[in-house]
Assembly symmetry: C2
């Protein structure tokens, strides 16, 4: 295993230190206004809102980024869930890693040339399923039910999370946070980031990464304290999975942790609540019939969110 | 800047050590046969062959890969160049990072839903340019002029490079190697790769990376010594650019280094030869007219390759 230094003592305001070290992305103010306007429309149309994070965060090792650390995440969970939330009438803010999978687009991405057939002086797609997806996408755009926002780096992600959560805070319990992004647990101090491409020929390279402050804490306690809060745990070691989820719930006091193992995450997840656990699983028939586990997750959460709303409003 | 350890003494067979540390991908033998069959067909059809590498290599930090180090490369240079080589009649082996840009596909990727229009019970694309690209792609597949091979990790890449270069070796000077991939200069020893997801909460994380052996050396001196060899240098610091290219040519004795700066690489490149330099550049008019710098690169290299062939055969 990689070498770990002894744990440093962390201050409670460690995330404020982080925000001081990394300037916000230049587009943040504009995007904040788009989120606020989107929330206003959703509220006027009596829609519940889900703020979905999706994809991995990048840690640049160089300012002119050639090299970077990354977290594996194609964005399947987030983009598939977004489609199902839209189907249930939610307004969706989709805060995602640039170039990761997006709702609707994901069914076409990387294989367009294989889906198209040649007609007379044009290319065509006739599969009913894809025509329907296209129509649902157009309708979603037309009804202003989907707001797409991109991030790349860990710093962009965390700045965005804070700013957009605060913008959604006034809507309180009508907002669900669905934190499916794979956020890096480690970051590199700005002073360690190389201005130019790191040159080879200089021998081994040592990188010392610090632990990312846990943003769930301020998100739940201060940025959006009244919202319904869903976090995710992805592990590769089954022995750790449920215990880590319970631990997170005790620490942050949020609503539910969705736990999954890397290898089986497309088929089985466990919803961990403070007082119980609920496993969701696709049967063989469901799996072969093309059902996605996200349908079950989103259906379940939507009901829980309704109950949450009715006892908090 | 990141901390660098004092340079270790490297053995001349350091790349053999590397291959001992990392097992080959399980598909390697099958892919080797596909390369050999493809080369045979190309040879029978009297086509020159170009072996293009494209995209970045991944360095996993964990066996069940959640976290990894990566090199930024969308694959634009390689995939655009592949299209131009095909236009000039080359047979193209496109050895690329999975999910990076591919010839023809790249014009549709990520924006299919925006390109499609709704017809009667079907979706359509009518833009002549895209219809033409689709046809060229079909024709390419039909005429067996393009072989696509994927890699993900640095180890997969290096195993593939060695094996496929040896498979192409018998064709000697009719083969051009066009090494546009962004190959990691550093790797992590297998014993340091974590079996499971690295847990947070244990303090800072230190990663010690070793220098990747320079595979240009055995490629040029032993795996494919008679082929026309084109390497790339991408830098962010203009002051280093040409000197580093000259240095590589002196060290490896290959044919040409294509030097480019990260910020201007879409518009300006310098072909560095042992005895001269040739700058290729898109004018404003060419740029706005949609010309790609790869057209100029590929046209120039094709002529050089012809001259090389006529004096070596």
């Amino acid at each position: 295993v990689l070498f770990r230094s002894p744990k440093l003592v962390m201050t409670t305001n460690e995330y404020e230190e982080f925000f001081k070290l990394f300037p916000p992305p230049s587009s943040l103010k504009d995007t904040e206004e788009r989120v606020a306007a989107f929330a206003k429309t959703a509220s006027e149309k009596n829609r519940r809102i889900v703020f979905i994070t999706s994809g991995g965060t990048m840690i640049p090792l160089e300012t002119n980024t050639c090299r970077f650390l990354d977290n594996f995440s194609a964005g399947t969970r987030g983009s598939s869930s977004a489609e199902h939330f839209l189907k249930l009438g939610y307004a969706v803010v989709f805060f995602h890693r640039k170039h990761s999978l997006r709702p609707f687009y994901r069914h076409f991405s990387g294989k367009l040339l294989d889906l198209l057939r040649e007609g007379e002086e044009k290319l065509e797609i006739r599969e009913k399923e894809l025509v329907d997806l296209y129509r649902r996408h157009r309708q979603t755009i037309h009804s202003e039910a989907l707001l797409m926002i991109e991030f790349v780096t860990l710093s962009d992600y965390l700045h965005g999370l804070r700013t957009f959560a605060r913008a959604l805070c006034p809507l309180g319990p009508t907002v669900m946070f669905y934190l499916a992004a794979a956020v890096s647990d480690f970051y590199l101090l700005p002073e360690k980031i190389s201005d130019h491409k790191i040159q080879s020929g200089g021998g081994p390279l040592e990188i010392k990464l610090l632990e990312t402050p846990k943003m769930l804490k301020p998100l739940i306690s201060s940025w959006a304290p009244k919202s319904y809060m869903v976090s995710f745990k992805l592990e590769t070691d089954e022995a750790l999975l449920i215990a880590k989820a319970k631990n997170a719930l005790e620490k942050y006091h949020h609503n539910v942790v969705i736990s999954n193992l890397l290898d089986t995450r497309g088929r089985t997840v466990t919803l961990v609540f403070p007082d119980e656990e609920k496993m969701l699983r696709l049967s063989d028939d469901e799996l072969h019939g093309g059902m996605q586990i996200e349908m079950k997750i989103v259906d379940t959460l939507s009901e829980l969110h309704k109950a949450f709303l009715s006892c908090t409003v």
